[in-house]
């Protein structure tokens, strides 16, 4: 293992721990606004994971869409509600044992499936520098007919419908 790979491993473990730890804090903290802030840390950890995978486009899209748009809406909503949002009730309900079992089973199943894949545990082949323009490839893949043009257009029509719906609901007919 080269020094670069070791550093990548360390970074991976730090960002994975950050993502999972702050995800736990999102549900464990009793203050609503702190939950929202921990969620941002968790989303940021995911962005770091994308960066480790050399997916630069996904990194910035993750930050723009999730941290810059969705989480800011959460914070906006929290700020507009009442001042003291401490949650005083119990944090677990009766079915937590069942939920934990289902979670563990899913994790175990996924681990088993991935470990039976031939590429499991192999180091990722480095992307040859300067030979592929990944952003351009992604762009052409999204609009070429034999690749992802249909899902792309369906998603955009869905968003347009949501936009029109929001305007219709909010529009005040005088």
């Amino acid at each position: 293992m080269t020094a670069e790979q070791i550093i990548q491993q360390i970074l991976f473990f730090i960002s994975a721990a950050l993502t999972l730890g702050s995800a736990v804090m999102v549900v464990a903290t009793r203050k609503l606004i702190q939950a929202a802030l921990w969620l941002i840390v968790s989303l940021f950890g995911v962005a770091v994971l994308y960066a480790l995978l050399d997916a630069s486009f996904l990194v910035v899209v993750q930050v723009v869409v999730y941290i810059g748009a969705i989480a800011i809406l959460f914070i906006f909503a929290v700020m507009l509600t009442q001042r003291d949002q401490r949650d005083k009730g119990p944090q677990l309900n009766k079915s937590w044992v069942l939920a934990a079992l289902v979670g563990l089973a899913t994790f175990g199943g996924l681990t088993f499936l991935v470990s039976s894949w031939t590429g499991f545990g192999a180091a990722a082949a480095p992307i040859p520098a300067g030979t592929v323009d990944m952003v351009a490839d992604l762009g052409t893949a999204l609009v070429s007919v034999d690749q992802y043009v249909l899902p792309f257009e369906v998603a955009s029509v869905l968003l347009l419908a949501a936009l029109i719906g929001a305007i219709y609901v909010a529009y005040n007919r005088k």
């Binding site: 606004i33 486009f57 941290i67 914070i75 906006f76 700020m79 952003v135």
Partner: protein, 371 residues
Amino acid sequence: MIDLALVLEWVIKSLVVIFMLLGGFAYLTWFERRILARMQTRVGPNRAGWQGLLQPVADAVKLVFKEELIPARADKVIFVLAPILTVVPATVLAVVIPFGTQVILFGRQVNLAVADINVGILFLMAVASVAVYGIVLAGWSSNNKFALMGGMRSTAQMISYELALGLSFVLVALMADSLQLSEIVEAQRTMWFVVLQPVGAIVFLIVTLAEVNRAPFDMPEAEQELAAGFHSEYSGMKFALFFMAEYQKMIVISIIAVTLFFGGYLGPFIGRFPWLGPVYVLGKVVALLFGMVWIRATLPRIRYDRLMDLGWKVLLPLVLGLVLITATGILLADEFGNSLVWSIPVVSILAGFLTVGLVDRSLRRKFNALR
């Protein structure tokens, strides 16, 4: 293998950018106060040092020794975190910007950019969207209704204008055929994008004024209505950090405008003397900053509902139209010869005039209805 010299190069370049922004911030306050004073037939700070050049130092010392107050019922962690969250994005924005081509320094080829990543424009969008947090959280954690209102206003304003900002980035990306900032600058070798995208450049400059909360869009800190807005409760160095973030953002956003529309580091003899690159950037940035100060001295603050109307009903449709015009123009130029690229500025100027005419008509109608 990780090259130690390369790491050292990164560290030094990052430090240079950080200190450049710090010094820029200090002297931008002096520049602004002197220019504003000239425009209002005053003198401005001229006591500390020659022409008042030591005034920023005196201000810094004063702010360091001021008492720091944390309101009793404030959310302390977030209250302390907010100024930091405001400054960091303002600094991080500068890392993707190329200040020149390559120079030979101590026998090494050195790129005059800290990290010239392939999604540079999108990185700018991402960091700009993170910059909202500091202001929102400052307003919320102060436990003060004026601060909260200032925070809310600025969030709404920045989110609204981010749309038009992103779309004006799209204009440049379409013209340059790349998201990488160095390639965008290189695409302007023959002609600056401001010539091909005059309306796009104007929209970009208006939107950036709103993004950095500068006059005439400084509603979040309207003294008369909000008692300084989101930073009402901040004092001492914490207040200085907000102040610093605002001026650093002014500088960085001017550098971005220069890079995207005004040819970046390009200028005469740049091929022979690569060291001229940072000098050209500095000259163009100072010109833009002078424009910002000039606007502050000239225009009154715009009313809040008008501000939102301008963002959503005027600038967003206009810049969407510009994207369509630019895409069509590029397609036409590809199909029927390069001279058709001039259809972009012609049609976009027509679209700009149409927009101004429509706004004028709507304002006239409102005015006549009042009479």
